[in-house]
């Protein structure tokens, strides 16, 4: 056992010096390899972080959102439905909501305008998200205008900005008083956009939803669990698409690795010949080459992963935000919460180290079976 470990030590030692003697070739390989890891790891870390962020946001969301449907379209819901719902067993609380979208032609962005009881807002006050503040260049105390459905412009005073902790969802938000909202949109008293329900026991959510549909046949309940599931699969799917697109790059990398491993220079061939002649066995050369692959893979993996980590969590993934996020002009800027997990590492391993290794097995074997007496001829 001791001899075995010492032997590996010698082999690693020799491998390192052999890698150093061919800096140019190996640095080239390391850069390409690292780049592949960087790309894939960035995609994974980024979309996973987004998914997690969305999950965190939805944690605070209500268990059920109830919408009214008219001719298959989302319509305003009468406020008196609230009474019918409260009597359903298992419902811990209800709340009618008023909200909608506003298109701002000046900046070409959509705002989400919402009435909330959390802020005590007078008729001419608003609270806005960080994205709007950036794009419109307004800060606390400044004035902010919105056009009503009748074409009249109303000016509001910005009471405060929303904090950027969960900027992903709050970036385009405008919070407003109920009175102002009804004036702006023309939604009459007694009507609401939708109704949210709190259900204490998660096992009863499904049951409550069934009762809602039975009692109020013109409504549609949307469950938080369902949204979470959809989010989960949409993010996984997007990530999958990007990976498939990157498969081309991966294939190019595999060919590159194969070429590097099989195109040994005359110098390298001579070296392996010498090793075999002075008493190295085929297995020793294989092991030496294994260590070489391990060292290169480990370095490329670490460098690529580290770079991806910095890229995603410290530069907010500047390179491909537009691909994976962008559904709005109002771009959220946020620091994702860093994390690492086994699923990702194992997946990345199979997308990078595994193809590299498979591509090099045969070239390495071919090099290792050099005739021991080759250098005598």
């Amino acid at each position: 056992m001791k001899a075995f470990i010492r032997k590996q030590g010698f082999l690693i030692d020799f491998t390192l010096s052999s890698l150093m003697r061919r800096k140019g070739k190996n640095i080239g390989l390391l850069i390409v390899y690292g780049l592949i890891v960087f790309l894939l790891a960035s995609v994974m870390l980024f979309s996973h972080a987004l998914r997690k962020e969305a999950g965190l946001v939805l944690q605070g969301a209500p268990e059920i959102v109830l919408q009214r449907m008219v001719a298959g379209r989302h319509a305003l819901i009468p406020a008196d439905y609230l009474d019918a719902i409260e009597s359903i067993r298992g419902v811990a609380g209800t709340e009618g909501r008023l909200w909608g979208y506003f298109y701002d032609p000046a900046v070409g962005a959509n705002y989400t305008v919402m009435v909330t009881p959390d802020y005590e807002l007078s008729g001419n006050e608003v609270v806005i998200g960080a994205g709007i503040s950036r794009i419109r260049g307004v800060a606390e105390g400044d004035f902010f205008s919105l056009r009503s459905d009748k074409g009249k412009t109303y000016v509001f005073k910005v009471k405060s900005l929303l904090d950027s902790e969960s900027e992903l969802v709050s970036t385009d938000l405008v919070l407003i008083s109920e009175k102002a909202f009804r004036v702006l949109t023309g939604i009459p008293e007694g009507r609401l956009t939708d109704i949210i329900l709190k259900v204490r026991n998660p096992r009863e959510v499904q049951k409550v939803a069934e009762k809602l549909v039975a009692r109020l046949p013109d409504t549609r309940p949307i469950l938080r669990e369902e949204i979470l599931r959809t989010y989960d699969s949409i993010f996984a799917w997007r990530q999958g698409i990007v990976f498939v697109l990157l498969l081309g790059a991966l294939l190019a990398f595999v060919i590159f690795a194969w070429d590097k491993a099989s195109g040994l220079s005359a110098e390298e061939k001579r070296e392996i010949g010498i090793l075999k002649a002075v008493g190295w066995e085929t297995g020793d050369v294989l092991r030496m080459k294994f260590w070489e692959g391990a060292i290169i893979s480990f370095s490329a993996f670490t460098l690529g992963y580290l770079a991806a980590y910095l890229h995603v969590f410290y530069s907010s993934a500047v390179l491909f935000e537009p691909v994976l996020k962008g559904w709005s002009v109002l771009y959220p800027q946020f620091d994702l919460v860093p994390f690492v997990d086994g699923l990702q590492l194992a997946t990345l391993f199979f997308f990078t180290v595994f193809p590299y290794t498979v591509a090099t097995i045969i070239p390495i074997w071919q090099a290792s079976i050099t005739d021991p007496d080759a250098i005598m001829r």
Binding site: F14, R21, I274, V278, W280, T282, D371, P372, M376
Partner: protein, 225 residues
């Protein structure tokens, strides 16, 4: 250690149009603790014979006995194992690994044995001292002169303390002075108990007084004296 060859044949590309019989029915014995020289023109098969004796390749047929052990027919893996402990090689073109230091080059044959690093380094340094190479021990091998390079190659051959030293055309790349020095070294090694087998077509070698026995080869066969 006594080495005995009987009816050795080596055929390359057997059964193909370029079939080539490099060694034909060779039987011989190499006496322990002596210096034997295989003499012959290039292409006479002496290097092929040397490589089979040194377990670098296998005969197509015939038997090779190393002491009591039959080594012909063993798989490569085991030939290598025997070779590491029994034979040291000095090649015609020295075959040192460029870019490594003298010391590293000498230790390479010992790596697969998994020895203690400190001990290995000590015995390598001892060898270098013995051959007057102390002051170049940390130089890269490409800085060495021809004579020095060969002495480094000899040190490398001796690092695992083999009983038999094999040398293939050892003086082909040396000038007269270095060739003489080499023969002197060989004589000393023989006196210290090593068995030595060389191939050469250099009269300086096979006519040297230190050589105990000269075997002449021609066309893959041994010439009868």
């Amino acid at each position: 250690m006594r080495i005995e060859l009987s009816n050795i044949e080596k055929i390359f590309n057997r059964g193909r149009h370029n079939e080539f019989r490099a060694i034909r029915d060779v039987s011989m014995e190499i006496a322990p603790n002596r210096i034997t020289c295989l003499k012959g023109a290039s292409g006479s098969g002496k290097t092929t014979l040397l490589s089979m004796i040194g377990c670098l390749s296998r005969p197509t047929s015939g038997r090779i006995l190393l002491g009591e052990r039959m080594i012909s027919g063993l798989p490569e893996r085991f030939l290598t194992d025997i070779r590491r402990h029994t034979f040291g090689f000095v090649f015609q073109r020295f075959n040192l690994i460029q870019g490594l230091t003298v010391l590293d080059n000498i230790m390479i044959p010992a790596y697969p044995l998994g020895l203690d690093h400190g001990e290995l380094k000590r015995s390598a340094k001892l060898l270098l001292k013995q051959f007057g190479l102390e002051r170049v021990s940390n130089n890269p091998v490409q800085w060495l002169s021809g004579g020095e390079a060969q002495r480094v190659a000899i040190c490398r051959a001796l690092i695992n303390d083999p009983g038999v030293l094999l040398a293939d055309e050892p003086t082909a790349n040396l000038d007269l002075k270095n060739s003489r020095e080499f023969m002197e070294l060989i004589g000393n090694l023989s006196e210290s108990g090593k068995t030595i087998l060389m191939t050469s077509h250099d009269p300086l070698v096979y006519e040297s007084p230190v050589v105990d026995e000269v075997v002449e080869m021609h066309d893959g066969q041994i010439m009868v004296k």
